[in-house]
């Protein structure tokens, strides 16, 4: 009798192809980026964005290190919003982050935001998946109210599957009740 595994059938299902460009390789050349950076030498995020203007589409990423830092993102374009236990609302302290994000998205139609919701491990796997989604939806709602278009935001949830903190204390749980925001400048 044949004891060998039936041949592996590779089923390639690329169902969610979201092309994105890493911040390191954005742009067609050095000069355009440098000129943008010299224009962004400090000041408020909103005034920086208005200086960038909307007409120039030179292929350079608007997600510059200075902008990211002032908006509250890390160098990879990631930020996190943390939630209280059983509270689906986004806390007021995140308003500046949301405003900056909304402005960036509205000014740069090719920029895309992914919002990934998470939950702490208490409860069941699927209920926590829904809790995580409720958190990412809350962030999306807040941004839509600020005028961001639906097609620039993608939401999903990891539930309890990807905890940032692996312990079982309240402090660990607080780290895991979050929505991760990931900004990407899509290649034009």
């Amino acid at each position: 009798m044949n004891r060998i595994l039936l041949p592996v059938s590779l089923v390639c299902l690329s169902l969610w192809g979201c092309s994105s460009v890493s911040l390191d390789q954005a742009g067609a050349g050095g000069a355009p980026i440098q000129s943008r950076e010299s224009a962004i030498s400090g000041g408020q995020a909103s005034s920086v964005l208005s200086k960038q203007g909307t007409g120039s589409d030179l292929g350079a990423s608007p997600l510059t290190p200075d902008w990211l830092k002032s908006a509250g993102y890390n160098a990879q374009g990631e930020a996190s919003i943390f939630f209280e236990f059983n509270q689906p609302q986004v806390k007021p302290e995140y308003q500046p982050l949301l405003s900056a994000t909304a402005d960036m998205l509205k000014s740069n139609p090719k920029t895309v935001l992914s919002v990934e919701g998470h939950a702490d491990e208490r409860g069941t796997v699927e209920y926590n998946l829904s809790l995580g989604q409720r958190r990412s939806d809350a962030v999306e709602q807040a941004l839509r109210l600020l005028g961001v278009r639906e097609d620039q935001i993608k939401t999903m949830s990891f539930g309890e599957e990807k905890p940032r903190s692996l312990g079982h204390t309240e402090a660990d749980y607080a780290q895991n009740r979050r929505a991760d925001l990931i900004l990407k400048a899509a290649r034009p």
Partner: protein, 470 residues
Amino acid sequence: MRATPHAPYNEVMTGWPSPLCLALPRSHSPGPSSATHAWLISLLMSIVVLFMTHSAFAQSLRIDITGVGDKQIPIALPVPAADPAQQLFAETVKEVAMADLFRTGAFSLLPVAPQTPPLTEAVPQAPELFLRWRTAGADALVASSVRPLPDGRVELRFRLLNTIKSEDLGGLVLATAPTTLDARRSAHRMADFIYEKLTGEPGFFSTRLAFVRKEKGRQVLVIADSDGENAQPALRSDEPIISLTWSPDGTRLAYVSFESGKPVVYSHELATGKRTVVANYRGSNSSPAWSPDGQTLAVTLTKDGSSQIYITRVDGTGLRRLTQSGTINTEPTFSSDGRQVFFTSDRGGSAQIYRIPTEGGTAERVSFNGPFNARPVVSPDGRLLAFVSRQDSRFRIAVRNLSTNEEILVSDGPKDDSPSFSPSSRWIIFSSRINGRDALSAVSTDGKVRTRISLDTAGIRNPAWGRFPD
């Protein structure tokens, strides 16, 4: 993010020689022996059997049993080999069958020294035979032999004898290839036969388990024997795999995979490895549950702004929304007649279990004990509902009788999840955390017999118990 689906080798799919019965079966069970005698024997045997299990199978798999059933049947199970070439085959059959029976908590397995002459199924059934074994403490005796066939195959023959009533309960002849895998399979068939004859319940040792093995960031969806052995991978991924569920005919597995970067529901045909996308809408797609006729699935989708339950055909067509209220509705499961869907909802302010007609209508709350009740699942015979209930800070498995509404807790937590019934509706397997590691636990639906299956090196979770093989 890459994932590789396979068609796992599944003995249920590829054929199995049909056994011949040696004698007319008689339905009968021996009476209980004295409790102390049984307890002492079972204590002795527990040490012997566990030792044999660990040494014979140098896997990192570990099975622990706690608790025993109300009644234990002492049984003797020697398996002599006709010649030394079949020694390993015979040893494997004996150890796997003994472990199967032991795991149910319904048997105490007597130590048996090699018999001279060997005690085979052809032994004359004289009164002295029954008396001798009855005196030795066995209520039941399995007389068997393993011999080579001219075509290179191996034949296991056995007969089950009731020593209390001096009765022959019948037996089987199982001819297979001489491999260890076949020895395991024959052992499970033998244990199924013995279990059914002596307890009146169908044996579940030939059923398959699906679960997810998690190791250093890699996840593997595995299909294994009922004892966790003979594991075959069906999907490998760098991203999470959750919510496994078998189709009613046992040919497909539905699950949620994050391989594309978000949760998507797939239906995976095990014999071919072919997959269908059941649901991939905006947001999260999760929590699949098969209708009893295998034609539709209930799923949880967030595409309309909150987690709601929808009904869809397997190929994703015919999508229809079932729930309307609340922000979280998930973990749907069908009643055994397919007419109702039980599910978890936060519409009342906290996670509780509700029931709604499959065709749509008003949802009715069914859980009332405690601040968190979720993840309902209905037993195949339709009589019981298992679910996860939070007690203090521990998440435990509860079982409710759907006719009497009596509820008991059958596990201790602290983080039990994903209950799945055995096809006989007598056992529940679920995820639990043991010594900080994700492992599987099985419990009888009365809560008395508990088994744990854990791996040394990896976490295992999300179990789904397959159907009886045809």
